[in-house]
Every structure is written in structure tokens, then in C-alpha cells.
């Protein structure tokens, strides 16, 4: 990971720009994250971020703006008091003054969240969090971590609760994840050793942790699809321009039919992803439709991997240069892992087979 101080300064500057230009507030209906996101604004923002920022920086924005902030804002609204610490945190984050990590994935498999072992004990006058979260974007520079913890003993849907943990609370330690791939994301692992907090640090109603997670992660899945779609189009534009300028004749390598067909396959997949986003974006932002989000996420995972791999191949040796498409190809693997694995998306889709095939019930 690049120097953390530098990363933190860059992340702070990015949030300031997003807040200062109104793009952050513009992402939400009526400028309020508790109202949910505006699908068109989401697509526009992630197209811009893809063009302007690193994959790591965009990942950090994606998690905070599409999941952490709306989840917190909904909890703050439920708390009802504008002076509540959650409401203050949301206001600060919207002003670009706070970075928040969403710490759901535990030391246990992220694809089975109900097995997580981080606990919160709830007493009348305090909350105590113990456990460890791994591979958390923004963890390296977040002022707060929104931690999904178990308060019950079982695997039931009512056994989990969100807790807002200030990163500087006694008992919190964060270490950077050992990866060269996501500079700018602040991805790290956070440990909590009997972190004691006042009861107003709940990040939502007790027992609604998994439910609120599912609701809000659907929007992150849409955002990752929109971001992936923008990325595929950008990479294909760059690749076609490269091919046109390479080799003999006015069209260079672009004149070769085998090359054109491979690009056409990528264009087909990319157009398919775009059409899927057109068809389902409002269902995800409006009613957090789980099937729509799974379709988008699964399609984006496959499309991004295919397009970036083909484009990298078509750029030959150049793609292996520092920051070239072969690096992006490794980063693109994130689309089928982060925010829900490809297999988990497929299971959700299979569950809705009848709805998709419009079979009579």
C-alpha cells in the first residue's frame, strides 16, 4: 500500500471535491441519503470517477456513498433527534469531512455473513465490541467504522446489529491489507478489543443488522455495475484507438477481422450490461430489489472480467507496463468477490427462476 498519510490526504481531498461540487449530495434524492439514491446521478458519478480516479479511490467512494452513508442516515432519521451523534456524523460525511468504513466481512467467510464472530454486548449504559473485520475499504483512513456485529447467539436474521465505532476509540487497531492492487482505497483489517462505547453508537435498530445490510448493499451492487459499465466502455475506446494507430494502413490492426470480432464480443457484453442497468436501476434504488441487484452484479462481474481481459490481450506488451490493463485485469477480479461473490449472486438469481421465466405460480 502507498504511504498511508499520502493516501489519507488524497482521500480527504477527493471527499472535499465531491462535497464541494455538490456531486455527493446530488447522488441522493432531495440531497438526503436517508431518501435513497438517484439512479441517473449514480451512473453519472461512477462514470466520472472511473475516468478521473484510481480503482482504489473509486472503491472507497463506492462503499461509503452507496452503502455506509444511506444506512447511517436511515438510522439517524429513525433516531429522530438532529443532535444525535449519528445525525452529526452523516452531516459531516456529506460535507466531505468524514470517511466511513463499512465493516461487514469478518474473519469468517464473507459469503456467509450469518457466521460472523464479531460480537457486541448490549448493556443499559454501554456497548462493547470485540472481534476482527478483514478487507475493509477506507479502514486505513476512516474516522468511523460501521461494524456489523452479533448480539445474539444464533444465525437468525434478528441476531445482528450495526455499531458505529470511532477509529480512535481505545481497543481499535487497524492494519493495512497487504495488496499492491488497491492503492487509494485504504483497504485494511480492523481489530476490536473490548471496545466500549456509549449506547447511542448503535448504527440502527438492534436486530436489524443483516436486514439493513441486505437493503443497502443492493445499491452498492448497482453502483459496481454502473462503474463496471463505464470502465468497459472506456477500456474499449482506448483499445480501439490503440489498435487503429498500430501497424500498417489507416486502420492499423483494427482492420483485422479477428481483432474486430473479439472487440465486437466485448461490445455485445457491454451493451447487454448497459441494457440491464437501464432496465433495473430504478428497482434497486427505489425498492432495493434483491434479484435486480444480483442480476446486475453477476452480469457486471462477467462482463468486466471478459472485457478487461480481451482488451489487455489486444494491447499486447503495452498492457504489462506499470498501470497498464494487465493490472486492471487483476483489479477487475474484485467485481466477482467484493460486495457479494459471483456464486452468491447466482444463488439469488436461481431462487427467482419462476419470476424471471414468468412461469405461472
Amino acid at each position: 500500500m502507498a504511504d498511508l498519510l499520502l493516501e489519507t490526504a488524497r482521500a480527504d481531498a477527493l471527499w472535499e471535491r465531491l462535497a464541494g461540487s455538490g456531486r455527493l449530495r446530488g447522488l441522493y434524492r432531495d440531497g438526503d441519503p436517508a431518501q435513497g439514491l438517484d439512479a441517473a446521478a449514480l451512473r453519472a458519478l461512477f462514470t466520472e470517477l472511473d475516468a478521473e480516479e484510481t480503482v482504489g479511490a473509486t472503491l472507497g467512494v463506492c462503499v461509503q456513498s452507496t452503502t455506509a452513508l444511506p444506512l447511517l442516515a436511515a438510522a439517524a432519521r429513525r433516531a429522530g433527534d438532529p443532535a444525535h451523534p449519528l445525525a452529526e456524523l452523516v452531516r459531516d460525511a456529506l460535507a466531505g469531512r468524514r470517511t466511513i468504513g463499512l465493516a461487514a466481512t469478518d474473519v469468517t467467510p464473507g459469503s456467509d455473513l450469518a457466521a460472523l464472530t464479531t460480537t457486541v454486548t448490549l448493556a443499559e449504559d454501554r456497548l462493547t465490541v470485540t472481534g476482527r473485520k478483514e478487507w475493509i475499504a477506507n479502514a486505513g483512513f476512516a474516522s468511523h467504522l460501521l461494524v456489523l456485529a452479533r448480539h445474539g447467539r444464533g444465525r437468525g436474521i434478528g441476531d445482528f446489529t450495526w455499531v458505529v465505532v470511532p477509529a480512535d476509540a481505545p481497543g481499535v487497531t487497524v492494519e493495512a491489507a497487504d495488496t499492491p492492487l488497491f492503492d487509494g482505497s485504504g483497504t485494511g483489517h480492523a481489530s476490536f478489543r473490548e471496545v466500549t462505547l456509549p449506547p447511542d453508537h448503535l448504527g440502527g435498530a438492534v436486530g436489524r443488522g443483516l436486514i439493513d445490510f441486505s437493503r443497502h448493499i443492493a445499491v452498492e451492487r448497482l453502483a459496481s455495475a454502473a462503474w463496471g459499465h463505464a470502465m468497459c466502455r472506456r477500456v474499449l475506446r482506448e483499445t480501439v484507438a490503440y489498435l487503429r494507430g498500430r501497424g500498417e494502413g489507416p486502420a492499423g490492426l483494427w482492420a483485422r477481422e479477428e481483432v474486430r470480432r473479439r472487440v465486437a464480443e466485448c461490445l455485445t457484453a457491454t451493451a447487454g450490461l448497459g441494457a440491464l442497468i437501464d432496465a433495473h436501476a430504478d428497482a434497486v434504488t427505489g425498492r432495493h430489489d434483491q434479484l435486480a441487484a444480483a442480476l446486475l452484479k453477476a452480469s457486471a462481474a462477467r462482463t468486466v472480467e471478459q472485457v478487461v481481459a480481451v482488451a489487455a490481450h489486444l494491447q499486447g506488451a503495452r498492457a504489462f507496463a506499470a498501470g497498464g490493463l494487465q493490472t486492471l485485469r487483476a483489479q477487475a477480479g474484485l467485481w466477482s468477490v467484493g460486495g457479494g461473490t459471483y456464486e452468491v449472486m447466482l444463488s439469488t438469481i436461481a431462487d427467482h427462476t419462476d419470476r424471471l421465466l414468468d412461469a405461472p405460480a
Binding site: A79, A205, S214
Partner: protein
């Protein structure tokens, strides 16, 4: 009696459940596991404009179509009354 719209919603989420879906249908036998319950719960909350209170998020609520409907109906009525707990924090 469970409302027809609720039965239709259940049918949508539980393709393996026997038809018609009656109060007695055991949801677990009809294929409802923890992942499906979240999915179903989100759909119910959106359809009825409610938020399930934490004390109803348990196995008893998700036992049968009838017990789930009772929880939904109770929450809808509770949310409509001033003493309701629909929007309670915690």
C-alpha cells in the same frame, strides 16, 4: 385469514410451497432459509411500508404463513396507531 396479496407475495418467494398458500404452510418446509427470509422480509417491508420491530425477528414469526401474516398485520396496525412501535429505535 391471510390476505390474498400476502399469499401472492409468499408464492412469489416460495415457488416450492404447496398451493394455495394457507395459514398452516410451514415456511421452512416450503424452502425458506435465512437468506430467503431476508429477501422475503425486505419484499414484505416494501409492500406494506413497514419496518419489522426487532422482537419479531425470530423463528416463531417465520414458522408458518399464518404466524408471519400475524406479525405483518400486527406491525401494520401498530405503525398506524400513535402508540405503535413501527419506527422505534432499538
Amino acid at each position: 385469514m391471510i390476505e390474498q396479496g400476502f399469499a401472492d407475495l409468499l408464492a412469489d418467494h416460495l415457488p416450492e410451497a404447496p398451493r394455495p398458500i394457507t395459514e398452516q404452510v410451514r415456511l421452512r418446509d416450503a424452502g425458506l432459509d435465512s437468506v430467503h427470509s431476508i429477501d422475503l422480509l425486505l419484499a414484505i417491508e416494501d409492500a406494506y411500508g413497514i419496518e419489522f420491530p426487532a422482537h419479531l425477528l425470530n423463528d416463531e414469526t417465520f414458522d408458518t404463513a399464518g404466524s408471519l401474516w400475524a406479525a405483518v398485520d400486527g406491525t401494520v396496525r401498530g405503525a398506524a396507531s400513535p402508540a405503535g412501535n413501527g419506527g422505534r429505535y432499538g
